[in-house]
Subunit: 97 residues, 2 copies
């Protein structure tokens, strides 16, 4: 779609105007993405606490992908997220021993 | 940039061809985003373990924004990430008491 490759005068799509020697390419500015799409969005900052004396299982997995249905715990949703996006995130494991 | 709004025959930008009554708009397909832009990308899945008997501080903050320079620990980088993206992520605090 060659007609989309060069911005009209006065418009810039995130890079300076092309020089004659440069291969033109279509550039779309994508704003840096939020990591958390939906967990506790009424909170300014989602911080959770684990008091280790209250842990009763030998191992507890905590979510770092922000996709868990049992956040702050990991429910395995990182697997689907990694597959869908090519990402490589996983939980933090808290171990009693 | 009206010339970019309609795909040439044979191309689709993520939606069916526009009907006459529909307001044309430019659509860019954005793939779901990875959460982790750069931490340990050679690993299939980044999982970390905390053995609580080895914790020596009363409180340790673990990163869940994947922007920390001291990952898996939180170094406060979530503040910049939240400001830049409108996100609301924060660390997991592990407390000895
Ligand atoms: S569900 Fe989020 S890290 Fe497992
Ligand atoms: S630096 Fe990532 S949560 Fe604080």
């Amino acid at each position: 779609m060659a007609s989309a490759r060069v911005a009209p005068a006065g418009f810039s799509y995130g890079r300076p105007p092309l020089s004659a020697s440069e291969k033109p390419r279509r550039t779309v500015v994508v704003r840096a993405e939020a990591v958390n799409p939906g967990i506790r969005k009424t909170e300014d900052k989602v911080v959770d606490s684990v008091v280790i004396t209250e842990l009763n299982k030998p191992l507890t997995a905590y979510c770092r992908c922000w996709r868990s249905g049992t956040f702050p715990l990991c429910d395995g949703s990182h697997v689907k997220h990694n597959k869908a996006t090519g990402d490589n995130v996983g939980p933090l494991l808290v171990k009693k021993q």
